[in-house]
């Protein structure tokens, strides 16, 4: 019984992790940025969805939409206020920019965490589910919302795939992740490509945040763990590799779910961290990474 429960729950949570991690790996692939305020972005989106749905009668769908928009705005703010000034700074040497971006986004996430816990306290918040009700999936009583979560996640990942493979803008993004200088030589404005990438990232991570908020609930205290989860997933899958991130999302999602059910929910991230250390030692480029 528990095994089936883990199978079903793990599938939904992994799909959701996948959406967030794909965005995370996308900005790394295209602009070389590791965003340590990733967890903050997800929590901002979830908290906005919860707050507007409850206090402004926006309803579950209106709240979710506003939450995703908040994610978009937050991502663009992160890029324009923190990442771009550091990348363009003349006072910082090139080889040090990476660490400055990491430190800068870490501080930005910390500020967000404090602001959320000040405005809304650090109590866990649960976003209204999009659809109420419970159905039976292979003998497990499952909330309809959990199925919707998995469906939406996979639909969005599919849309992203079509966007990258079939549209002109998507192809330029893909090209920029392979060779940024080559793309500029072909006459594309790199700064516009970055902006588009960050916007897509904001939508993806915002969606993941809202879905997570409806599924497990979030609080300002979960920001660090969420960033660590996303970071683990993309490193496990190989930095910059989208398909690797999706596989890794399932590995991480299932390990976490199994741990939460069989050991204790409080240590759900521990085995993943151990696995991560092992992978980094043995195969630093991850499952499908390129060096």
């Amino acid at each position: 019984m528990t095994a089936l429960q883990i199978l079903v729950d793990g599938f939904a949570i992994s799909a959701l992790y996948g959406v967030g991690a794909v965005g995370f790996t996308l900005i790394f692939g295209v602009s070389g940025v590791l965003n340590l305020s990733h967890g903050a972005l997800m929590v901002v989106a979830a908290v906005v969805a919860w707050y507007t749905a409850a206090s402004f009668n926006a309803g579950p769908f209106g709240g979710a939409a506003l939450g995703i928009i908040a994610g978009l705005i937050y991502a663009l703010a992160t890029f324009v206020l923190i990442v771009r000034p550091i990348q363009r700074s003349r006072a910082i040497q090139n080889e040090e920019k990476e660490i400055f971006v990491l430190t800068g986004t870490l501080l930005w996430g910390l500020m967000t965490q404090q602001a959320i816990s000040y405005l809304f306290t650090n109590n866990p918040r649960t976003v209204l589910p999009l659809v109420e009700g419970v159905v039976d999936v292979i003998g497990v009583r499952t909330p309809v919302n959990e199925i919707i979560t998995a469906l939406i996640s996979w639909a969005v990942i599919g849309l992203l795939y079509i966007f990258v493979q079939r549209t002109r803008t998507g192809k330029v993004l893909l090209a920029a992740s392979m060779n940024a200088r080559g793309v500029t030589l072909l006459g594309f404005e790199l700064s516009r490509i970055y902006l588009v990438t960050w916007a897509i990232y904001g939508l993806l991570a915002g969606l993941a945040g809202v879905l997570l908020g409806a599924f497990l609930g979030v609080s300002s205290d979960s920001i660090g763990q969420l960033t660590a989860s996303a970071f683990s997933i993309v490193v496990l899958g190989g930095l910059g590799s989208v398909s690797g991130s999706l596989i890794a999302a399932y590995v991480v999602g299932y390990i976490e779910t199994i741990t939460a059910y069989t050991v204790a929910p409080s240590v759900r991230t521990l085995p993943v961290l151990a696995l991560l250390v092992l992978v980094v030692y043995m195969r630093p480029q991850g499952l499908l990474g390129r060096r």
């Binding site: 430190t103 501080l107 500020m111 404090q114 961290l273 980094v280 630093p284």
Partner: protein, 304 residues
Amino acid sequence: MRWLKPGIAIAVLVVLYLLPFGVSGYILGLLTVAYYYGVAAMAWDLLFGFAGEVNFGPSFLVGLGAYTAALLNHYEGAPVWLCLIAGGAMAVVGGAVLAIPALRLRGPYFGLVTLVAVLMMQNLLVLFAGFTGGEIGLDIPSILTISDRWNYWYALLFMTISGGLMFGLSQSSVGLILQASGQDATQAAALGFNVAKHKLAAFCVSALFSGLAGAMLVFYLATVSVGTVVDLAIGVQFIIAAVLGGRRTIIGGAIGSIFLIGAAEILRPIGQLSTFVVSAVALIVILFFPGGFLGVALRGRERA
């Protein structure tokens, strides 16, 4: 002009050593913690500023020292000096373990390993809370001394000695080789320097002082908990202190951490928001004055 910098340093130190005769015990207590944090920040700067290794888990090394000392004292009743030595030694072992991936991995990968090290330590300490005290903390039977003044002097002396040693190391030929291998390891190796040996040494020195700072802090606070020595937020505070004070200066870490503790105290009336304001200030400094306080001061004088 050659005597200006050492002159200022000595004058500041004399003032700091005489401070207990002029200010209240409360301020001395704040500064005592600031000095221990300062040592951890300086040790971080030795790794990042000179060896070029991004360590996101300085609190891993500090925590190792702190918990080794605390557990020995709590369960075995070991004398303070033995606990301090054991704490420092354990941190060196931890530093060597961290150094192994650092020699193989670059940039974000190594940063990730250090981040994971802290998160794992935090999780394990909470999981075995029955033994370690977890988030509530473990009480420590021994303390260094009950006198505010002597606690302050111990901390200041510890900071002066470790700061002096690390600063000396950074200015020596070893420091130059470290800096070279941090910036371009291949070229440094081509010039005949043993990059691995120097980096390993930097890790061990940095770990030793971090661990000692953690162990001393335990005997000052008379308690040890995840929130005071291991939490990621504590580690971030060391990093912020070192970057605020000025990277590649060693001493910047001490200045930054005194500033941070002071700022937190001044901002105490606004409560929860104080961390927000401190992070914002640190962010602004990083964006506009990446050289930190010392960077601004030194550059200002060059222009004049």
